[in-house]
């Protein structure tokens, strides 16, 4: 029996507003418990919610980015249930009329491109936190998180494997964090949480099997593992003659298994009804146009521009646009380069940026916008190599020194006397000397051993402290050895 796996994801994205969705309390993570919960968040008698416009703007931005319908009229609804971290005894959410309907997200799985359709996205408030550890036999309630704005994004059940689900989750993460910048994406802090709806069916069937929901997966790794375990559990169950019960499950990373949390019998009736304290949310054309005009160019568009306009390879362009931070740095660098005088410098800089430059930034755990080397200096370094002032090898050393803050490009070239020896006569003299000093290598080369040639080049470079132009050395050696 061949099985098809059907997966849909619900993702809760914490929106990056400074204050909460219905109160003015701050949303910053990590504060002392219960110091960022206002009267409204604690649900004192008599308080009322007031909508944060910044949350609405971010929802609109998302809708525009995924080509969804932005509903001109949407309604806030109360989702009623009792739990200590839900102060009002209800969560303000959106039910029948969400702000966003439809939409799609393009994902890449290996070599394949796929489009995942979205069902909807709606605004709601986050609950507080229940802390079970660190308290003697009681549970601590921290209401700092209560009222943080969330955008709940629901996908259609379009994914067919754990790998696809992770690709979708990663693409969505990149979109909301790097591209339209509505979320800080910190999964450890709970800024981006996925619930996976998983079911299986015989391959070829168009009827959906009974699904289980796995809640609160806060890493891509757990997402993948949980789905893999769950699909196997369901397949085994059915093949053994059982039936899948619709229920909510949790993933246990220590045991790498999913466990039942609530069954359908205990399913909650949330008694949704429109919240009478909030008027319907009406979004105007002007507002949508304004949000649209303020949106930065999508990262995918920047990537295709790099490919088409700057003639950068697809792979390099993709790596340059994994974050707006990096792409922005690269753009500023490019504006200081002169590709007319130095053809190929843009491609070379692109490669070096995703290569060594990124290496240094990653080690130092820095954002590109906080780089100790400015785009202008980086461009200058690349130009000094292109115009022959310094050699490739010197570039590597200089980059290291610049990261360490030892000085600017020109200062270091001056200080270290790194100016490339381009005077042919000088280089020729050294080449002659090396040829004379290494008869064995010369013999081996003449017999056909390429390695011997490289050894001679190496010797010349060493003798010039790396300041000779390798291309020039190559040329001279070949001429003199008659190759």
């Amino acid at each position: 029996m061949k099985w098809e796996i059907v997966i849909g994801l619900e993702t809760h994205v914490q929106l990056s507003t400074a204050s909460k969705i219905f109160s003015g309390a701050p949303t910053a993570f990590g504060a002392v418990p219960n110091t960022q919960a206002s009267a409204v968040d604690i649900a004192l008698p008599g308080v009322l919610p007031v909508l944060n416009k910044g949350a609405v703007e971010r929802a609109i931005r998302f809708g525009l980015a995924v080509n969804a319908t932005i509903n001109r009229r949407s309604v806030f609804a109360r989702k009623n249930y009792f739990y200590p971290d839900l102060p009002k005894g209800y969560q303000i959410s959106q039910y029948e009329l969400p702000i966003i309907s439809g939409g799609k997200l393009n994902i890449v799985v290996g070599e394949q491109q796929k489009t995942v359709r979205l069902t909807r996205a709606h605004l709601e408030e986050d609950a507080g936190k229940s802390l079970h550890e660190n308290f003697q036999e009681v549970t601590g309630i921290d209401l700092n998180r209560a009222g943080t704005p969330l955008l709940e994004i629901v996908s259609e059940p379009d994914m067919r494997s754990a790998v696809e689900a992770v690709a979708y989750a990663k693409a969505l993460h990149r979109l909301v964090v790097e591209d339209i910048e509505i979320c800080d994406g910190n999964m450890q802090e709970g800024s981006f949480r996925c619930d996976a709806n998983v079911s299986v069916r015989p391959f070829g069937s168009d009827k959906l099997g009974t699904r289980c929901e796995i809640k609160n997966l806060n890493s891509f790794r757990f997402l993948e593992r949980a789905i893999e375990f769950e699909t196997q559990r369901q397949i085994d169950l059915i093949e053994d003659g059982g039936t899948v019960v619709q229920e909510t499950r949790l993933y246990d990373p220590d045991r790498d298994e999913t466990r039942s949390m609530r069954s359908k019998e205990d399913a909650m009736d949330y008694r949704y009804f429109p919240d009478p304290d909030l008027p319907p949310l009406v979004v105007s054309e002007e507002e949508i146009n304004r949000v649209h005009s303020q949106m930065p160019q999508p990262l995918d568009a920047i990537r295709t521009n790099y490919e088409s306009k700057l003639k950068i390879t697809a792979n390099t362009a993709a790596l340059l646009t994994t974050s707006r931070d990096k792409a922005g740095f690269f753009d500023k660098t490019v504006s200081e380069l002169d590709p007319l005088t130095f053809p190929g410098i843009v491609e070379a800089t692109a490669n070096a940026t995703i290569g060594e430059f990124s290496g240094f930034m990653n080690s130092a755990k820095l954002e590109f916008s906080k780089s100790p080397i400015t785009p202008r200096e980086w461009a200058k370094l690349q130009t000094r190599v292109a115009d022959g002032t310094i050699s490739e090898k010197s570039r590597k050393d200089l980059l290291k020194a610049m990261f360490a803050g030892e000085g600017s490009v020109d200062e270091l070239i001056e200080k270290r006397g790194l100016t490339q020896i381009s005077d042919v006569a000088t280089v020729e003299k050294i080449v002659d000397r090396i040829i004379a000093a290494n008869p064995k290598s010369v013999e081996e080369f003449k017999v056909g051993k390429e390695k011997a040639f490289n050894a001679l080049v190496g010797q010349v470079m060493k003798a010039t402290q790396g300041r000779a132009n390798p291309a020039q050395v190559n040329e001279l050696l070949k001429k003199k050895l008659g190759g």
């Binding site: 649900a43 008698p45 008599g46 009322l48 005894g89 008694r271 009804f273 009478p276 304290d277």
Partner: protein, 486 residues
């Protein structure tokens, strides 16, 4: 001093014939003496009151002429007042000291009024007789064996007993107007959205409105001027150009068309009420008003619609009273669920529980469409009836309540009988229209009868105009309860 209107008292204070401190002490003394008789108050705090009175006197000395400086006021215990116990008439909030002021309370404080106490009320504003309060029933100053009406029974009784010239109340299904009628005072519920609900403990959010109690329509206008106005903290608060509700009091009313809904005048009213209303209508004809028969055909649906929608919203609004963060918590419990159950079973009274259960039921899966959704649709029909009626008349008149004050315990055994006390008041809440009640006579037992005036949206100034003109020609509003002398 006990029978002075706000306007008259302000004149005394402005002329320095009396000080705010003297006024405060005078009324605090009355309150202290009569509290055991009427049980109109839940909280009194002389120190706080006198401190406010001193501040008012400083304002007067500095030359401030704001209309309410030094005027004593009582707030229904549903309004959060900073530093005051705010119980909402419930055991659930018996020890809750509000850390902030409701918008309405703030406005009065800024205007220089002096808070003399928090008044008794039906628990969580659910009731029509002030018998569901955890703090005991309030007695009607006209007959202490009878109810003052509810849920703002304490505020109505307090003004009737001259414990203060001004009080605040809230009206969700008639809770200002009905006690005003039964206690022989004036009470007004403004258009929905005119007074901010911030800090006003919620019962049914789409119906609740704050409003004033006083002895005259003119005083109501003064109080409304202070209470009304936009508040950004309430998303249902309306942003409008501020108006002076007293500006039209002196206008003659001849030619005004008075709508008389035939559904208000079919059998249902006690004869004593019917007679007083007839006499009042004759008075309006003398003033030159023209009676017009109008119809509100969906009026019979008003009480059932209300008793689906109000409990539904209440069941959700009262979910926060769970013993976790503030308020009552059961002293012993086995686990979380047990704590919730015991806290709410012990903390809430029977009527509150009844309405929470009804509300939960009508919102639950499988019943939502048949009850809640249907009631919302019918609500629109009821509102549309008024829109049509106001095309033919300028105001609508009728009785406020079907009976005069009933005896304590008379209706508490039958909730539905109690609910029918609100039959004439509920429609205005469902439509969001302004409505008020003023005294218009007495029945043969000497119990007050209230006349209801319902206006079109934002027509408070016109309503107060009519009421004021009526009060120039009559003196029902000036009568004192038995045993009380000027």
């Amino acid at each position: 001093m006990l029978n002075l209107t706000i306007k008259q008292l302000r004149a005394e204070l402005a002329a320095k014939r009396v000080s705010s401190i003297e006024v405060a002490r005078y009324f605090l003394q009355r309150i202290g003496t009569l509290q055991p008789v009427y049980n109109a108050l839940i909280s009194i705090d002389e120190e706080k009151s006198l401190a406010q009175a001193r501040a008012a006197d400083r304002l007067i000395a500095a030359g401030s002429a704001s209309p309410l400086i030094g005027i004593p006021i009582l707030h229904k215990d549903i309004f959060c007042a900073k530093g005051w116990r705010t119980t909402c008439g419930s055991k659930m909030l018996a020890d809750f000291v509000a850390p902030y002021d409701a918008h309405v309370v703030e406005r009065f404080n800024v205007a220089g009024a002096v808070v003399l106490g928090k008044t008794n009320m039906d628990e969580f504003a659910m009731g029509s007789s002030n018998e569901t309060s955890f703090y005991g029933a309030v007695k009607n100053p006209w007959d202490v064996e009878r109810v003052p009406g509810g849920s703002s029974g304490g505020s109505a009784a307090a003004v009737a007993a001259r414990l203060a010239p001004a009080a605040t109340g809230t009206d969700t299904g008639g809770s200002i107007r009905q006690p005003a009628a039964l206690s022989g005072v004036c009470g007004l519920k403004p258009t929905y959205g005119v007074c901010s609900r911030y800090g006003m403990i919620a019962f049914a959010s789409s119906l609740d409105q704050a409003g004033p109690f006083a002895k005259t329509a003119e005083d109501l206008a003064l109080l409304l001027n202070t209470m009304a106005g936009f508040d950004a903290r309430d998303s249902t608060s309306l942003e409008r150009t501020p108006e002076d509700y007293a500006r039209n009091l002196g206008r003659p009313v001849n030619g005004l068309r008075i709508g008389l809904p035939k559904e208000f005048f079919t059998a249902g009213m006690d004869s004593g009420v019917a007679q007083a209303i007839e006499t009042a209508l004759a008075e309006f004809r003398k003033l030159g008003c023209e009676p017009v028969e109008v119809s509100l055909p969906n009026m019979k649906l008003a009480v059932p619609v209300y008793y689906v929608l109000a409990p539904a919203e209440a069941s959700s609004n009262l979910a926060r009273y769970d013993g976790v963060r503030y308020g009552y918590r059961a002293p012993e419990y086995a686990d979380l669920t047990d704590m919730y159950k015991k806290t709410r079973a012990q903390g809430f009274g029977a009527e509150v529980k009844r309405r929470i259960l009804i509300g939960t039921y009508v919102l639950s899966h499988g019943y939502y469409d048949a009850y809640y959704l249907q009631a919302q649709k019918l609500r629109h029909l009821i509102a549309d009836d008024f829109v049509a009626a106001f095309k033919q008349c300028d105001v609508i008149l009728g009785p406020t309540a079907p009976t005069t004050a009933f005896k304590l315990g008379e209706k508490s055994a039958d909730p539905v009988q109690m609910y029918l006390s609100d039959i004439y008041t509920i429609p205005a809440n469902l439509a969001g229209l302004p409505a008020m009640s003023i005294p218009c006579g007495f029945d043969d037992k000497g119990l007050p009868v209230g006349l209801q005036i319902i206006g079109d949206y934002f027509a408070e100034a016109r309503m107060l105009n009519i009421a004021h003109q009526y009060q120039q020609a009559t003196d029902w509003h000036a009568r004192l309860p038995p045993g009380m002398k000027e």
